[in-house]
Every structure is written in C-alpha cells, then in structure tokens.
Symmetry: C2
Subunit: 308 residues, 2 copies
C-alpha cells in the first residue's frame, strides 16, 4: 500500500514523490471509509447519505496521511493503522459539519460544495455530525490493540483530543472570541485546540498503532503539535491572500466575521515567519526517529507550500 | 451503596422500597457524574457550565438505575458498573439537548427548566451535546473491562446503540415522520431506536460489568428491549393525558408537531394495553435470572405506574 521506501530509511524528501504518496494514501483511506460506513441506502437513508456527502466531499485526508506516515516511521503498516486514521477523519468531518452550521460559522460552502445544512437542512446536518462522531469511535473500536497501547489507551487518546478540553474547547473559544479584541496568546489557545489537538492525536495514534516506544511517541507528539499549529497559521494566511475559488470555500470569512487571525493580530510577514519556525521545530522533533521519518518531513514541507 | 437485599435473591418487589433505592442510586450516579465531568469553572467555562446544566437538570437517572440493577442481578456491584451507567446518561442527555434544538423538536422546556439553547444559545447547545457524547466515551473508557467483555466489546455496544442505525436512526425517522401519516409498524421502528436501543444498552452494559453469562445477557436484552418500548409508549400516553406542569416539559407537543404517537394511531386504551403487555414480556424475560432480578422487576413496574 505504501508508495515510499522510507520504511527502511533510504528515501529522502527531495527525491520522494509526495503527491503520488498522498494520492495513494487518499485512495486507501477512501476505500477504508467506504467499507467502515453504512451504505447510502441503509435505512434511514437520509442520515447515511448526509454522512457520506460530507465525508466524501473531496477532503485532503491530511490527518489520515499523517497518521499512516507516523505509523510507517515507527515500523507499522497501513492495515493496522487504518481504523485509527479513519476515526480521526470522521471526527474532523463531524467538526466541520457542526462548525459550518448557521449557529456557528454559518458557512454555505466547504471544499467547493454546499455545506451539509444547505443540502439536507439543519436538523439532518446536526444529526450527521453526531453520527460521524459516534461512527469514529465505532471504527476506532475495530483496531486490534497493541502491547503498549490497549483499546482503552487508544479510546482515551481520541476522546481527549475531541473533547471539551481540546477540539470543542477550541470551537467554543473561537465562537466567543468573534468580534472581540483577543491577544496573540488567546489566539494560540484557540489554534492549539481547534486544529493542533486532533492533528497531533492523528500522529500519536499512528505511532501507537506501530506499538512505538515512549521516546518515539514523544517525538511524534512534538512533531504533531508544531505541524498542527503551523497548519492553522497557514489557513489564516490563505483566508486573506486567496480567492474563494482557489480555496473551495468562502474566502475572507474570518475578517467578515471579525475573527481574530494571526495576520490580523501580528501581520502577514510575521505570520509566515511563525509558520516556518513551527515547521522547523516539527522537523527537529523528528530527529529521534533516526531517518525513518522522511515521509513525515515531506508532509510538513508540503503544508508550508500549499496554496489551498 | 445498594439499598436492596435483592443481590442474594431474598427481597421481593412488594416489600422493597423502590423509591428509597432510586433515591440512593440517583445520589450515587450524581456524585459519580460530578467526579467524571470537568468542573464548571474549567476553561472554557461556558461549555462545562452548559454540559453540567443539562446533566444536572433533575433527570430521573432511569437508565443508570437500570444499568446498576442489571449488574446487581448478575452479581456485580455499583463501583465497577458506574462508568458505564454514567456514560449512558451522558449519551441520553446529549440526545435530549440536540433533540430540543429549534432545527429538531424546538422545545423551550425540559424537566421544568429552560432547554440548553434557550439559556446558552444554539451554538453552545450544539457543542454541549457534542461534548457530552464525547465525554460518554471518555467515561466508558475508564471501566475496568471484564474477562467475557473487553473494552472493545463495551465500546462497540455503546457506539452501536448511539449510532446511525439505532439512537440517531430513531431521531431521523421521527424528524422525517412529522406531519405525515405513518403506520404503527413505522412508529415501532422509531420507538425501538429512539428509546429502546439505549435503554436496552444500559441494561446489557450492566450485565457485562458483572461479567454475566451469555444466557444472562440474552435475558437482559429481552428485558431491556421490552421495557424500553413500554417506556416510550407511556411517554406518548402521558403527552396527551398530562399537563405541562405535571410533566415538567411542554405537554401536547407531539400533537402540535403533528407527530404520530401510539394513542394517535391506535387509541389510548390499546396503547395502555400494549404498555402492559410489553412489561409482562419484560417480567417473563427475567426468569432465567432466577430470583435475583427483583429490583429490575420493581423498576419495570414503576415505569407503568409513573405519571410524569
């Protein structure tokens, strides 16, 4: 399944075709999600159509890719890791459906397509989010468990990242910060929780699925935290520098909603510097993985170069 | 912790103080939920206040009581069962918060208090539901696991009952049935999923937490299914026979929303007969538990006699 030779440490980001790797992993993740989810026509069809509509709306599968690459960096494989990679993607998708609701960010487009509530109505969109969150834990429960990381440990990892102290805390703080003057440290609090927590969780779960050592897990944690923050800073930058067409979603929404962003608080140039510094820290964090992390490095580089 | 002598089979529903038992278990469940949930002032305080507002709004704790009584009937105890009892209550509460939203049943009152979105706004109410659902799985992950029932089995039980084929399927079918002429069998489909699934799950989890045998689990499953259906039929009956004040929520809502109910489809008398027949089946299901199920029997009787 892997499109890279990094497992033996022989590959290098410069001579590695990341796009081919991402395409291959996206295909594998999509096939797995298709197997894990009830069919579209399963009764009641509306909810399964709505779950699949958002889950297969062209997401970049960045979190699953990071999860699978982290597993590979620790000697794991796609098959063992896939339930966890898919669980994280279901949680990510549920959070987008609920964030897009009129009571939250009130967004009509996501990934170039109408958002769930615009297609299915608010009631079904709320339930589709609920169902994907529940489905995430059902899928995670299908992992095999590992000597160092039991099902219990895996579940606690996922529930913590998705819970009221992390992912949901970020959305609450984001919601409450709209139209207010907030500080750079408050914005960091939001980004750490709204984006970095689940991204870091994806990377850590990948390591766990390879039964990684404690030091490997620490390296992946530092990597995931920094890549996650970098990813969100870049999202903020893209929101003001790109058009809606380029982004596939409504551009300039943050400014329109009077949401604080890195560029609005500290300026565009410093925001770009911070994104670069966070990525450097992520690279540095990978050193203990001793040359097996070339795919993770390539993914981190990719995050800084993306334009949508 | 237990207020009954049923554990040794010596008690009998007729000479057993159910109200004292329920009061004692409600207190124990409330104390456990208080320990499991983040404090009200934990940042971001809004979400934890909202989670606690709905969770401690005077719920009858019927599902936890059934869960704990099922464990007792199989020789288990409160301590081992409590994480699962509390997880089920968190799922129940999340489903109520989301069901009450304007996009769903649009209810202003629940248990005599303003609903979550009336107090905290729709955005926070949606997130409080999300957080309680996630919290449920976090709490369930704290159970100790049992020889016949691993953490994996317990998670699958919970995610199935709460997922798009059961609890959420019921809410979807309910939403889609509003204002339409639906048959008695379609209504049964809704009630099986919207109410019976989680109630049955509570009873099954109680048995699992006592490491029950396969035949004990089957008995509890039949019991839970029938009690769950009876419970919903009675809810339908009370909605048209009681005032809002007596119910602590808006009465007559089903009729106002043109929702099909047992009384509206088959009449009040036949609905009462069905509730009684379902309870009889529930009693019969308990026979394999050989006299250790007096508390479960008392709870089932209580469900038929309740007036709110």
């Amino acid at each position: 399944m892997s499109a890279t030779a990094s497992g033996d440490g022989s590959s290098h980001p410069d001579c590695f075709d990341l796009q081919a790797y991402l395409n291959s992993q996206t295909l594998a993740v999509n096939q797995a999600l298709d197997r894990f989810l009830p069919r579209s026509q399963t009764k009641p069809a509306t909810i399964h159509k709505a779950m699949r509509y958002s889950l297969f709306a062209g997401g970049k599968r960045l979190r699953p890719a990071l999860c699978l690459a982290a597993a590979e960096a620790c000697g794991g494989d796609n098959l063992d890791t896939m339930p966890l990679a898919c669980a994280v993607e279901c949680i990510h998708t549920y959070s987008l459906i609920h964030d897009d609701l009129p009571a939250m960010d009130n967004d009509d487009y996501r990934r170039g397509k109408l958002t769930s509530h615009k297609v299915f109505g608010e009631g079904i969109a709320i339930l589709a989010g609920d169902a994907l969150l529940t489905q995430a834990f059902e899928i995670a429960a299908q992992c095999k468990g590992w000597p160092r990381y039991s099902h219990q440990t895996v579940f606690r990892e996922l529930t913590h990242a998705a819970g009221s102290l992390q992912l949901i805390a970020g959305q609450v703080a984001d919601l409450e910060g709209e139209g207010k003057a907030i500080s750079a440290s408050q914005l960091k609090y939001i980004h750490e929780r709204k984006t970095s927590a689940l991204l870091c969780c994806a990377v850590r779960l990948g390591g766990m699925s390879a039964n990684c050592t404690r030091s490997q897990l620490q390296a992946l944690t530092d990597f995931g935290y920094n890549v996650g923050l970098a990813f969100q800073v870049i999202d903020d930058i893209l929101d003001i520098t790109q058009s809606s067409e380029q982004l596939g979603k409504t551009a300039g929404k943050d400014a329109a909603a009077q949401k604080a962003t890195y560029p609005s608080i500290i300026g565009l140039d410093r925001s770009r510097q911070i994104a670069r510094r966070l990525t450097d820290r992520a690279f540095a964090a990978l050193r203990p993985l001793k040359g097996k992390s070339s795919v993770l490095e390539a993914l981190a580089s990719h995050l800084l170069k993306r334009d949508r």
